[in-house]
Amino acid sequence: MDSITSFFRDLHERSGINLTILYDPFDMDRFLHGLVLTVVLFLVSAVASVVIGLAGAGFLTLPYRVPKAIARGYVAFFRNTPPLIQMYFFYFGIGALVPTARNASGFPQELIDNFDWALIALSLYAGAFNIEIFRAGIEAIHRSIVEAATVLGYSKIAAFIYVMVPLAWRISLPALCNNLIELLKTTTLAYAIGVPELLYVSNQIWSDNINTFEMMNVLMVVYLILVGIVALAMHRWERALRLPGFGATSP
C-alpha cells in the first residue's frame, strides 16, 4: 500500500500528473465515499424504478380507464420533461412545503433530505421508462398463454404475477438493461442538489488540488467501468433466465 502511495506521489513530482485520490488519504476517503454513494443511489433507485415499472404496467393491463390514464399521464409527464428540472421541482419545490423537524441538539433538520429527494426523483424518472418497457413486454405475450393460465384456475392477479410477469420479465430484460445504464448515468444529476456522489466529490477534489484534467479522466474511467459492470451483470442474468424456444428476439 505504501509503495503505491509513494509511486503516485513520485509521479506527481516527476510528471505533474496529480492523482491525489491514490496517495492522499483524505481525498481517497472522500472519493470512495462518493463512489459508494453513487452505487447506493443507483441500486436503490433501480429497485424502486423496477417496482414502479411493474406496478404501472400492471395498471395498464387493468380494464378500468382511470388507473390506465394515471399510468399514461405519469409516463408522458416524466418522459417529456427534463430530469434535472424534475429534481429541482422535487427538492426545491415540494421540499419547501415539507415541514422541518428538529434533531436531538435542537437544530432544524429536513425530514426528507437532498439524498432522499434524489432517490425519489431518479426512481420516478427511470420508473416511467420502465413502465413502457414492461408494458411492451407484457403485450408481447400472446393472449393464449394467459387464457391457458385462466383455464388452469389462476385468478387474474395470480396469472399476472406467476405467468405474465416472469415471461414479460425475460422479454423486457435487454431494454431494462439499457434503461438501468441510463439511470446510472443520470445519478450524476444529484450533483445539482448537493448530494455528495461521485461527480460532486470529484468536483471538490479538483477544486482543492487544481487537478481537473486528471480527475475528469478518472471520473470518465470509473463511470465506464460501472456501466460495464451493470451491462455484464444484466447480460449474465439474461442468459441465466433464457427459456429454450421462448423469445425469438434474442439471436
Binding site: A76, P82, I85, A136, I181, L219, L224
Partner: protein, 279 residues
C-alpha cells in the same frame, strides 16, 4: 385505437405486433389532458399578460415569462446546434464502425462506446474545462460563450448515440442489398452512399427524433456550467422574488414549457414508427 386489438394466429412472442399495438395507444388519455391544461394555462397567462395583471403568484409568473422564454429559446438553440452537428458527426462515425478497414472501424467503435456510455454531465464538464475560453482568428480574439461550449458538450454524446443508430440501421438492411451492389461493381463507399444509407433514412427517423427529445431534456444541464438558459433564468427569477411559495409553481411552469415542446415530437415519432412498422 385503444382497447383490444385482435391478435393474429401466431403463438408465443410477437414483438412487432405488440410494438405496433403499443405505439398506437401509448400515452393517450391523461397525457392529452395534461397538454390541454398546459395550453389553457398558456392562453390564460397570455391574456393576463395583455390585461396587465400584476398580483400574487400568477402575476409573478407572468412577469418572468419573457425572461424564462428567452432562456428557453437558448435551450432550443443549443439542442438544434447539437442535433445538427451531432447528426453529421454520427453519420460518419456510424459508417466508420462498419468500414471493412479495421484501423478505421476499431477506433470508431471504441469512440462510440466511450461517449455513449459516459454521463452527459461528465462530458459537459469535459468540454467546459478543456475547450479554450477564447480563440484567436487572424489577430482578433473571440470569446466562446458558455452556451456554445455547452452545446459542443451536448454534441459529443449525440454523435455517439447517433453513430449507434446509423450502425443499427445499416446492419438492418438485408445483406442481399450489399451483395447485389457489389456484383454491380459498386465500391464500398458507393454502396453505402447510394444504396444503403438512402434506405436507412426511414428507419433512422423515429430513433433520431427520440434522440432529439433526450437531447432537449439534457439541455438544462447547461445551467450547471453557467449558460443562461431556462433553468438558470428560473433560478435568477426565484432569487429576485425571494418568495418560497413561488418555487413550486415556477418549476412546474418551467416543466410545462418543456412538455409542450417535447410531447408533440414524441407523438409524431410514435406515429412515424407506427407508419413505418406496418409496411
Amino acid at each position: 385505437m385503444r382497447g383490444h386489438v385482435k391478435l393474429g394466429p401466431e403463438v408465443g412472442v410477437d414483438l412487432p405486433l405488440a410494438k405496433r399495438r403499443v405505439r398506437g395507444a401509448v400515452e393517450g388519455d391523461l397525457a392529452s389532458i395534461f397538454l390541454a391544461i398546459a395550453i389553457v394555462l398558456g392562453i390564460v397567462l397570455a391574456l393576463a399578460l395583455l390585461a396587465g395583471a400584476d398580483t400574487g403568484l400568477l402575476g409573478a409568473l407572468i412577469k418572468w415569462t419573457p425572461f424564462l422564454g428567452k432562456g428557453f429559446l437558448l435551450n432550443v438553440v443549443m439542442s438544434l446546434f447539437a442535433i445538427f452537428f451531432g447528426t453529421i458527426g454520427g453519420v460518419f462515425l456510424g459508417m466508420g464502425q462498419l468500414t471493412p478497414a479495421s484501423w478505421i472501424s476499431l477506433p470508431a467503435k471504441i469512440l462510440t462506446q466511450i461517449f455513449r456510455n459516459a454521463p452527459w454531465l461528465v462530458l459537459l464538464f469535459y468540454c467546459i474545462f478543456l475547450l479554450p475560453f477564447q480563440i484567436r482568428i487572424g489577430g482578433q480574439t473571440y470569446a466562446i460563450a458558455s452556451w456554445l461550449r455547452a452545446a459542443i458538450g451536448f454534441t459529443i454524446p449525440v454523435i455517439a448515440n447517433f453513430s449507434e443508430i446509423v450502425r443499427g440501421a445499416m446492419q438492418s438492411i438485408p445483406s442481399g442489398q450489399w451483395e447485389a451492389a457489389r456484383s454491380l461493381g459498386y465500391t464500398w463507399r458507393q454502396t453505402v452512399t447510394s444504396v444503403i444509407l438512402p434506405q436507412c433514412v426511414k428507419r433512422m427517423l423515429p430513433p433520431w427524433m427520440n434522440l432529439y427529445a433526450v437531447l432537449l431534456m439534457a439541455t438544462p444541464l447547461a445551467s450547471i456550467v453557467g449558460a443562461e438558459e431556462a433553468l438558470t433564468n428560473a433560478r435568477t427569477a426565484l432569487q429576485a422574488e425571494s418568495n418560497s411559495l413561488l418555487l413550486l409553481p415556477l418549476y412546474a411552469y418551467l416543466l410545462s414549457w418543456f412538455f409542450i415542446y417535447s410531447y408533440p415530437i414524441a407523438r409524431l415519432s410514435m406515429a412515424l414508427e407506427n407508419r413505418f412498422a406496418v409496411r
